[in-house]
């Protein structure tokens, strides 16, 4: 079993309280289902869509991230899967796709010198 991070990208604000509620419920159902099957290591954290970016030798601080709304990381979760194919398969039920968002599936590099993945 390997751990993977899902980076949720795309920050679409639904247009009304009713839609927000429906969207929230969909996410909760999807994650609960994965969780019940023992595939969630950590539900992760939501991120605010704004922040600062510090960069370069001059450690310049700028408002950021300067990305299109669809590329902003809105949150992450850590899940457990047999391999990347399975991790991708688990992500397919994520409601983010309805809003044109994406899930980036990244294996967490193992610490021990094993075969990794």
């Amino acid at each position: 079993m390997t751990e993977f991070v899902y980076f949720y990208r795309g920050y679409e604000q639904p247009a009304s309280p009713d839609e927000m509620q429906k969207k929230t419920a969909k996410w909760m159902t999807w994650l609960k289902d994965l969780s019940d099957k023992g595939h969630v290591k950590s539900l992760g954290e939501p991120l605010q869509p704004f922040g600062k970016v510090v960069k370069g030798a001059k450690k310049q601080v700028i408002d950021g991230p300067y990305a299109e709304a669809k590329d902003v990381v809105g949150g992450y979760s850590i899940i457990v899967a047999k391999d990347i194919e399975q991790a991708v398969a688990f992500s397919l039920g994520c409601p983010i796709f309805e809003d044109g968002g994406s899930v980036e599936v990244r294996p967490i590099a193992p610490l021990e010198l094993g075969d990794g993945n």
Binding site: S16, D18, T24, L31, K32, P46
Partner: protein, 416 residues
């Protein structure tokens, strides 16, 4: 754990009302932004983390903290109630004042005052309803446009204009104002229209219509819960809504087909609502004022108190319609009266009554006018004429449900 349906929508109306009291009506847009923000945070957090123990308190806390932040930084012009402004200017009293504004009682009070503010005499009736749905019930423009089969642009313009008028007042309508009685009339009228839009409305979606009826009931409940404000006509309107809403579950069959009133399965009627409606009707019977709400509620009660369709006291219903025509004549009411007369004295008499309706031309696009003619001709055995009337009605029908219903009547005429 599940949250109840439309929880976000209803909380939104509560939070906007509470914030508007703190910020002043001129800052409605700010109150709406803060509310929207609280919901975005809730959504982003809850979707990963699941629901907090008390979702309502969670949202209120986010909104409260943001309000404190804004008030400390003096971002708002004075919240025009001098009393409140004084408390908001001192750090000693700021926090308790904001806390108090979010207490259950204060929130209800703010919702009521917002409802009265929305019914400003300079705001058109249509816009009042749109505004109430938008601010107090948390519907967005698109959802309201769908409910009223109107364009997004038209509703948006209606709401924008109305908000401008609203923003000219500094504070929410004061319930002690001398204008209270006339404003109450406007509020009752708006809630009545809102309920009717749900009950007889044009939206093809049954779910939307049920929602409008439910919203109207929630709002009238706010009004009758307040012993100080309640009047017999408020009880009468509440009774009318309860008694009519009780029949909603029987209006559609399992496949979403409209069921004619005479064929409804009365075991599907909501008997709790009927009992509550009846109790409200009893409460409305005081004072000297007889309003259309009283009479319409009494008619609804005549229907709900009949165990079977054939037990209906049509004689009593006709005399109630006579009273209604005397105080509030309209072609639609006259049409309903004619149908009641047909039940009492036969279809020929009903048709004669329809023939003499004053302002009959105003019913020219109302599908239930030719449908009523078709129904009465059918009962006379005049099937080809009935079929022609049902076909005219079909051309005017506003939703798939209405169209299917009328198509079935046409098919029956062909077979008869």
């Amino acid at each position: 754990m599940e949250i109840e349906e439309h929880f976000f929508r209803h909380e939104s109306g509560r939070i906007v009302a509470a914030l508007t009291r703190l910020f002043g009506v001129g800052n409605l847009a700010l109150a709406e932004d803060v509310t929207q923000d609280a919901f975005c945070r809730a959504m982003e957090t809850w979707k990963l983390r699941g629901l907090p123990k008390n979702p309502s308190a969670w949202l209120m806390t986010v909104a409260k903290n943001r309000a404190l932040d804004i008030l400390r930084r003096k971002h708002t012009a004075r919240a025009a109630e001098p009393e409140l402004t004084r408390f908001l200017e001192s750090e000693w009293t700021l926090v308790p004042t904001v806390e108090e504004a979010f207490s259950a009682r204060a929130v209800k009070d703010s919702q009521l005052r917002m409802m009265f503010s929305c019914c400003h005499p300079r705001i058109s009736e249509e816009a009042q309803i749109a505004l109430i749905l938008h601010i107090l019930c948390g519907f967005n423009v698109m959802e309201i446009a769908q409910a009223f089969m109107s364009s997004h642009a038209a509703i948006e313009q209606r709401i924008t204009r109305a908000k401008k008028i609203l923003a000219e007042s500094t504070t929410l309508f004061d319930l002690d104002d001398t204008e209270f009685p006339s404003r109450l009339s406007a509020v009752l009228q708006a809630l009545y229209l809102l309920f009717n839009e749900g009950y007889h409305g044009s939206s093809p979606e049954a779910a939307v219509r049920m929602e409008l009826c439910q919203e109207a009931i929630l709002l009238i409940n706010l009004l009758i819960e307040q012993p100080v404000l309640v009047t017999p006509r408020s009880y009468a309107l509440a009774a009318l809504m309860y008694l009519n809403a009780a029949r909603l579950p029987a209006r559609l069959d399992g496949s979403d087909n409209l069921v004619s009133f005479f064929e409804q399965d009365r075991s599907l009627w909501d008997h709790n609502l009927i009992a509550e409606g009846q109790a409200l009707l009893d409460l409305s019977a005081s004072g000297t004022e007889l309003t259309r709400y009283h009479i319409e509620a009494a008619i609804a009660a005549m229907h709900t108190s009949a165990a079977r369709s054939e037990d209906t006291d049509w004689k009593q219903i006709v005399s109630l319609y006579d009273m209604l025509m005397a105080i509030h004549p309209s072609p639609v009411i006259a049409l309903n009266r004619a149908i009641a007369i047909a039940q009492l004295d036969g279809p020929e008499q009903g048709l004669r009554e329809i023939g003499v309706i004053h302002d009959l031309h105003r019913l020219s696009s109302y599908p239930f006018y030719p449908a009523a003619l078709g129904e009465l001709e059918f009962r006379r055995g005049n099937y080809p004429v009935a079929k022609a009337h049902f076909s005219s009605a079909l051309a005017l029908a506003r939703s798939t449900m209405e169209r299917n219903f009328l198509q079935r009547r046409i098919d029956t005429c062909k077979k008869s």
